[in-house]
Amino acid sequence: MAESKSTAVKSVKNKKHMINGKTAEKLRLYSLCAIPVFLVFLFAYVPMGGIIIAFKDYRFNLGIFGSEWTGLKNFEFFLKSPSFLLITRNTLFLNFLFIFFGTVASVSVGVLLFEMRSTKATKLFQTVMIMPNFISWVIAAYMAYAILNPQYGMLNAVLNSFGIESIDWYSKPEAWPAILTISSIWKTVGINSVIYYAGLMGIDTGLFEAARIDGANKWQQIIHISLPNLLSLIIMLTILSIGNIFRADFGLFYQLTRDVAALYPTTDVIDTYIFRTMRVVGDMGMSAAVGFLQSIVGFVLVVITNLTVKKIKPESALF
């Protein structure tokens, strides 16, 4: 056995410069990502030429390349709109709330789940928490309406039983940043906590053993082992979310608020505003222009965030 092993090692060593040489390894690694790169190129970069629609007066019969250039004209209606500041502020603020509280909630739930000893209980709870992800916002909005309904909503029924008068939630814009954030968390905490849970799964159990032997209690273990190891994941997911900070989940903002005008001051975001404007004049160039703006802003923010992260924890940077 030992003999064949040494001959095997020898023959391998001889071929080393061919099989294990740096270039051969490089080729192998590149080959792994070749098909995916091709797919991304085909389905994402080839159609990217369409971005120019934002700068054109798009006519169906002239196509993307035949239509006339209009420079920045398509951007005017949005940038010079009197509502521009309000909806931009709403979009950024609300998305920030979602990212921040969403992350706190998901990480907390993920960590707590990880501490659960009973695997049966863990599985049960995860299954329940993941349910909201299956419901579209249209349906979820009906549920929210059932709860927030001024006349026979559950929330008002509960308030009444405590002696508090019913509140018409749909006429109180101040309450909605909270309502929207809670709804966003409700929908995503299940899935996101599963991601962080998986992250915790990947931590070498030896680390926990060693800490326990050293006398660390649960709380200390969480702070010194669990969280730090999740940090790269948290940072990465946060950077990715920042890229979309100028975009709104249309279903959430439109369906949940039932498009009630009274709530616009705190819930009107870029995507709902655009939807409203396009009702009469449906112009592809204009909606493309806004989409382009959303991309640019997200891009700039991500680059800034990424550079900052590189200074602090280079391995966690996106690129």
């Binding site: 169906f60 209606f77 009197p82 006349q151 009702r279």
Partner: protein
Amino acid sequence: MKRLLAFCMALGMVLSAAGCKSKTAATSDEIPTLIWYLNCSNQAGADAVLEKINERLVNEIGAKLQIKFIDPGAYNEKMNMNMASGTEFDLCFSGYVNNYSNAVKQGGLMQIKDIIDKEAPELWNLIPDYAWKSITVNDDVYAVPNVQLYAMPQALFIDKNMVEKYQFDYEAMKNINEIEPFLDKIKENEPDMYAYQPEFGVGPWVTDYETIVTGFNELVVKKDDDKCKVVKRYETQEYIDGVNKLRDWYQNGYIRKDISSADSSDAVSLERTVSYASSYKPGVEADVKKQRGKDFVAKTLSANYVTSDLCLQTLTGISKTSKHPDKAVKLLYLLHSDKELYNTLCHGIEGVHYKKIDDTFYAPIENSGYNPSRDWAFGNQFNSYLMEGKEKDVWEKSQDLNDSAKQSRLLGFNFNTEKVVNEISRCTAVLGEYKDLENGSVDVDTTLPRFSRKLQDAGIDVIIEELQKQIDEFIK
């Protein structure tokens, strides 16, 4: 890696080549097939019906017909995509969905005036002048109107039981305000019901005005104004009276308190609404009963009137990408002139999909697989058989309403929005923000001035100037 890349490219090319081959093989020297996109859910029995129709079509126009059924909910999106991507097809429904003006403006439809002149000059006579006038854009025509009842007057619909219970003489009403005592009685005695549902907004009060630009209700013209001066609807006395009245009704409890967040078509609303305003067409009472489960009576509140907008609800457009527009036009002419062909397309094959009761009436056979209910998408609805249960003279009454209607001076006027696109977008957004003015849930005295100011800031005066300019040019 290079090999892998090359392989993938080759694969891609083979796939697309394979796809292309199968398409070209089918359409070489055969009789062309006209593709018609329809906003109607799939009809399982369509193949049989089309086969029968194609027997005739092949002989009479040298082409076959294929209908692509697209779900009504997806139709707008789908047609947008189709036109934007240059997909080849021949005909499509345009109107209340797949907006005609937009399609023309963005270059999706083909000019067919010359084609009609050449291939089917009789078609001009089969459709009323005012309909043709409405769809004229820049002296040309891009679709064929499907005739239906256009001049629908506005009406007030009231729950029949309630009317009888409280002995309300609705027939005697001269305007909508006279329903007030009845609403009061409802509020007193039927606390669970919604006395009035303001779905139609301020419409019932401003019946003397007509909208100029579809969807943009605040710029109107007085119906009897020969000069067609553009007026800000929200500054007229009628509007102010209307919103104030709605506000009163809201505060008096005739309108449900949560109207701004309520869905007027949800189960609760349908169950509890006692009265509401809507468009009226002869025979609509039966339909309302199906929708709400109760009998409703209707009292018309406005005169029948024809505007461009009304005539543009149901059209059949010819696609810019059509390779056989001449045959498509011929097909439409046949559908408008040949009653038998038209009714086959509308109702299916006699005995299989429907039973003919007499010359006028028919009864659809349940679960037959073909019941598209699209008379108004295929041709002249007045040529269609009447469904059992309707009154015999529904079509006559409808036609009367159409013909006796006063016609708007602005028939055929198309507002070219190029110069004011930004202002219109911004104003449209403002309109959405202040929709609550029309359901009584906001205080008029403070909100209306704000509304006016916001529209000012969004540039409504610029729009008015341009609009008036174009209108003056048009009515010369």
